[in-house]
Every structure is written in C-alpha cells, then in structure tokens.
C-alpha cells in the first residue's frame, strides 16, 4: 500500500503486447488526483486505449510501477477494477442480441456484488439510479441491439456508473455519434463529474469535444506523453496546432 494523495500514479510505465517487441506506450509518468477530469488526446495508434487498459489492469505493464487508489495495479487487479468504471470504444451490437438494457447495466455490478452472491434490492436501486442519471430509465426493458449509437453509448455509460466507481475511464465516448448525441453525452459527463465528483479520464481524438469541466489535457503521440497541462495552455500550444494541421479539429 502506497500512501499518497494520488488516485493514479504511473512511474516509467511501459506496456508491450504479447509477441511484440516494441512497446505501445513507454516512459509514461502520470499522476492524477481525486476529482480530476482529464482528456487524453492523440492520433490513432498513439497508445491511448493501451494507457487506459494499463490503468485498469486489462493489459499488464512490462516495466515501471503503477498504482491506482494507492494499490499496485499488478497485485490488486480485480480489487481495483471493482472501483473503476470502463466504457470501451463503441462496438457493433447484433440487433437480435438477447439482452435487455437493465441486465446490461446490472452486469456492471457483477464484480462488486461478488461471486456466489445474487443481486439485491440495493443493486437494482443503483441500476435505476444510474439509468436515470443518463436519462435512459424508459429503456430498461428494451433489447440492447435495438438502440441507436447514442442510446447504446449512454447505456454503456450507465453500466459503468452502476458500479458506483471512484474512477471512470472512457474510450472514445463520442465516436460514431452525431452532433446532438455528442452534445448530450458531453453534458452528461459534465453533470456526472459535478454531481458525483468522480475522477474521469477520457480518451478522444476530437478537440472540439473536450467537455467544459475538463481542466487538464494530456497529449499522447507514438506511445509517449508529449504534453500534459491545463486545458488553456494545451489548446493554445503550437504543437497541438501542428498535430491538428487544420484538420477540422480532428487528429
């Protein structure tokens, strides 16, 4: 157990995929304090998803030391994951998939409820609360495959929130969404951050959608953090302009 105030602390982290020689991310040093709202931006293949999955232990780092909630990630993987809500990049859902939205949201609590235990009333209360928070309570008994991209994204978000997480990791939550849905999800993230004071790390390739409450931006390129600073400083920097290269705000 490491005693400090950081919620996440990564020291010289390097993550290599099995069978690969070159690390996807390397020399990553990162400190995140409780309650922070951070955007991680970078081009495709920069290692953004790898960074998120190194934090929640889905990928094992090959070098350095990583701590989440003061616990070493490698040793306390499953314990840590119960407190981390993760929303993966929008994926294709079979329209005939036999799952109801409420069951998917409940599945976020699986680890928290624990093996050999059944969902109780308080677990369902949490499900209804988080579905209400994202405005999807009317969709509880709808099949998951029938949702639009934005609705599906909100269900995944509500699934992560049902976990009652201390930390929320979001991988491209705005991808495949139209402008209106993006705005909705952005407003939602701001509200969740304000209301629940959760630490949020969001991976995005679109600078136009850095939520307004997000005060810190980290720029990742070729597996390395090249910039880390306040929103104002990063957005005004020359490097960002050169990376974006007048590409409509998209990397």
């Amino acid at each position: 157990m490491k005693k400090n105030s950081n919620l996440i602390e990564l020291v010289n982290i390097e993550t290599v995929y099995e069978g690969e020689r070159l690390p996807v991310i390397y020399d990553v040093n990162l400190k995140v304090e409780p309650g922070e709202f951070i955007s991680i931006i970078g081009p495709n293949g920069a290692g953004k998803t790898t960074l998120l999955e190194t934090i929640n232990g889905l990928l094992t780092y090959s070098k350095g030391k990583g701590f989440v909630f003061g616990k070493e990630i490698k040793k306390h993987k499953s314990e840590i994951r119960k407190e981390i809500g993760y929303v993966i990049q929008n994926f294709e859902m079979d329209p005939l998939a036999p799952f109801l939205c409420k069951d998917i949201v409940m599945s976020g609590r699986t680890g928290k409820i624990g093996t050999f235990r059944f969902a109780r009333k308080k677990d369902w209360d949490k499900v209804w609360y988080s579905m209400g928070l994202v405005g999807m309570i009317d969709f509880a008994n709808r099949p998951i495959g029938k949702l639009s991209g934005g609705e599906f994204q909100k269900i995944l978000l509500s699934r992560a929130l049902a976990q009652n997480p201390k930390l929320l990791l979001l991988d491209e939550p705005f991808s495949n969404l139209d402008y209106a849905s993006r705005k909705q999800v952005e407003t939602l993230l701001n509200r969740i951050h304000e209301k629940n004071n959760i630490t949020i790390l969001i991976v995005s390739h679109d600078l136009n959608f850095v939520p307004s409450r997000c005060k810190r931006i980290i720029v990742l390129e070729h597996g390395k953090i090249i910039m880390d600073g306040s929103r104002e400083k990063i957005l005004k920097s020359e490097i960002i302009n050169s990376i974006f290269n007048g590409n409509g705000g998209k990397i």
């Binding site: 993966i88 036999p98 599945s107 976020g108 680890g111 928290k112 969902a119 099949p143």
Partner: protein, 279 residues
C-alpha cells in the same frame, strides 16, 4: 410400430429427455459465444476415443467419454495459450482427432469391431444404460446449479468479455467452464443422438429460442424446453417410422427451427403507425 418392453421404453424416453436438456442448455452459451463447431470436435473426439477403446479392447463408450473429456479440458487453455480464436483451435483439434481415429481403426482387427466404433457417430437410444441416465441426471443438475449461481457473470461475459473482465470478473475461468460443460454434455449424449448429429441438438433449440426472445433468461428457459420436446417428438417419429433416432431428433429440431424463423417476431417488419395518425 414395434412393441418394446416398457422399461426399455422408459429408459429411452428418459435418455432422450435428459440429452435434450443437457445439450440445449449448454447450447445457450455455445450459440452466443460463437462456438458452434465445438459439436463437430467433440463428436470426432468421441469417435477417436471409441476407436482407441476397441484397439485396446475396452468398452468403446469409455474411450469416447475419456477422449471428449480430455479435449474439453485442453480446448480453453490451448486457445488462450496459442492466442487463437476458439473456432480455429477447434478446427485444428477436429482434424487431429479424425487422423487419430483412422490410425486407431487401422489397428482394430476385423470389420465388425470397426463398425462398432462407427456406431458412435450414429447413436442408438436403445443402448442407453441406467448408468448413462444417472450420469446425465447428475450433469443436468450441475448445469442448473451452474447457471443459477453464475447467471450474472455469464450474462456479463456473453454481452462483452472485455467489459466483464473490466468489472472484476475472471472471464477465463467461466469461459473454460463453458467449454468443459459443453464437452461433457456432448460426450454423455453421444450414445443417444450420435456424434454426427449431436451438435444439431446443441444449436437448433437455442437458435429457435433466439427467434422469439430478447431476454436471456427466457432463452435459458425455452431452449431446454424446445430441446426436450424435439428429442421426445423425434423419438416418437423414430418409433413409428423406423428412422434412426438421431436423424429423427435432428429432423424435428430442424423443422421447429425453420418454423421459428418464418414466424419470428424479431424478423417481422414493424407496421407504421404514421399512416393511421395522418388518416
């Protein structure tokens, strides 16, 4: 229709009922996890096992069960270790098992014994023993307990394995368990339905249930019901028509599946209400 002693008839009916239950319950996972070719693998593992049994002069069924148990144990870890899709590993093991079977068959003296091994592929319900019934009953009980206790974990994994893992579920363990249970379901049902047709009993009832329900709970309930009904009706068809039992069961389950596809509410086009409003 031929007259059978009632005890033989009851044993056979129970056998059909339990095999229908065991295969179609595990089928609920197999269909969702895209593991449909596991049926081919297990049946050919059983075939190789039966050939091996005959080669070393033991009961071919013991060899069959031994081989399919073994395969179901190594399948999951092998797919993980090789970092390959389960279906690829299934394909690899499938051809390997056939190769073994032919080698074993080569060493069996006389064609009569080879025919005994081949019988594993066709199945015969009247060869069902009380031991088979006992084993199938225990297995059915285990699978019910497994589904009830680990329902939430199974739903999480079947929705998305990575998300399940990220919420603190040890997905590998459940994945192996599903592969293992399917392997056992196949090896225990093989004497009844036959190796070549057993996978139809795994896939057809669940696929039928999929046509009607969006709630996985209902699929878990209706898949075995459809499986049991298919087995019983197939058994009856076999008695009155003299069709082989496995073929009759598969024929019925295929007919049920076809009807389900035609009448599936999931595939019907929604009727527009706009016109009514405008009118």
């Amino acid at each position: 229709m031929i007259d059978f002693p009632s005890t033989l008839l009851i044993t056979s009916i129970l056998g059909a009922l339990l095999a229908g239950f065991a295969c179609s319950t595990t089928g609920a996972f197999v269909v969702r996890m895209n593991l449909s070719s596991i049926g081919y693998l297990m049946s050919h593992a059983a075939f190789a096992g039966a050939a091996f049994g005959l080669m070393i002069s033991i009961d071919p069924i013991i060899g069959a069960i031994f081989f399919s148990f073994g395969i179901s144990l190594v399948l999951g870890p092998l797919a993980e270790k090789a970092r390959l899709e389960s279906n690829i590993v299934i394909g690899f093991l499938f051809s390997f098992m056939i190769a073994l079977a032919f080698i074993f068959l080569n060493f069996i003296p006389g064609t009569a014994a080879s025919a005994r091994a081949l019988r594993i592929l066709w199945g015969s319900i009247f060869s069902v023993s009380t031991t088979d019934l006992f084993l199938l009953s225990i297995f059915s009980f285990i699978i019910i307990v497994f589904v009830v206790i680990f329902y939430k974990e199974l739903i999480a994994i079947m929705f998305n394995r990575k998300l399940a893992e990220s919420s603190g579920v040890n997905t590998r363990l459940y994945y192996f368990a599903v592969l293992f249970l399917t392997g056992i379901a196949v090896s225990l049902s093989i004497r009844i339905v036959g190796g070549l047709l057993v996978f139809a009993l795994i896939i057809n009832p669940t696929s039928t249930a999929y046509q009607f329900f969006f709630d996985f709970k209902k699929i878990f309930i209706f898949s075995p019901i459809i499986g049991i009904v298919s087995c019983l009706v197939g058994f009856w068809l076999s008695l009155i028509s003299d069709f082989p039992i496995g073929a009759s069961i598969v024929l019925i389950s295929a007919i049920v599946f076809t009807i389900a596809i035609i009448f599936s509410p999931k595939r019907k086009k929604g009727k527009s209400k706009i016109k009514k409003v405008l009118a």
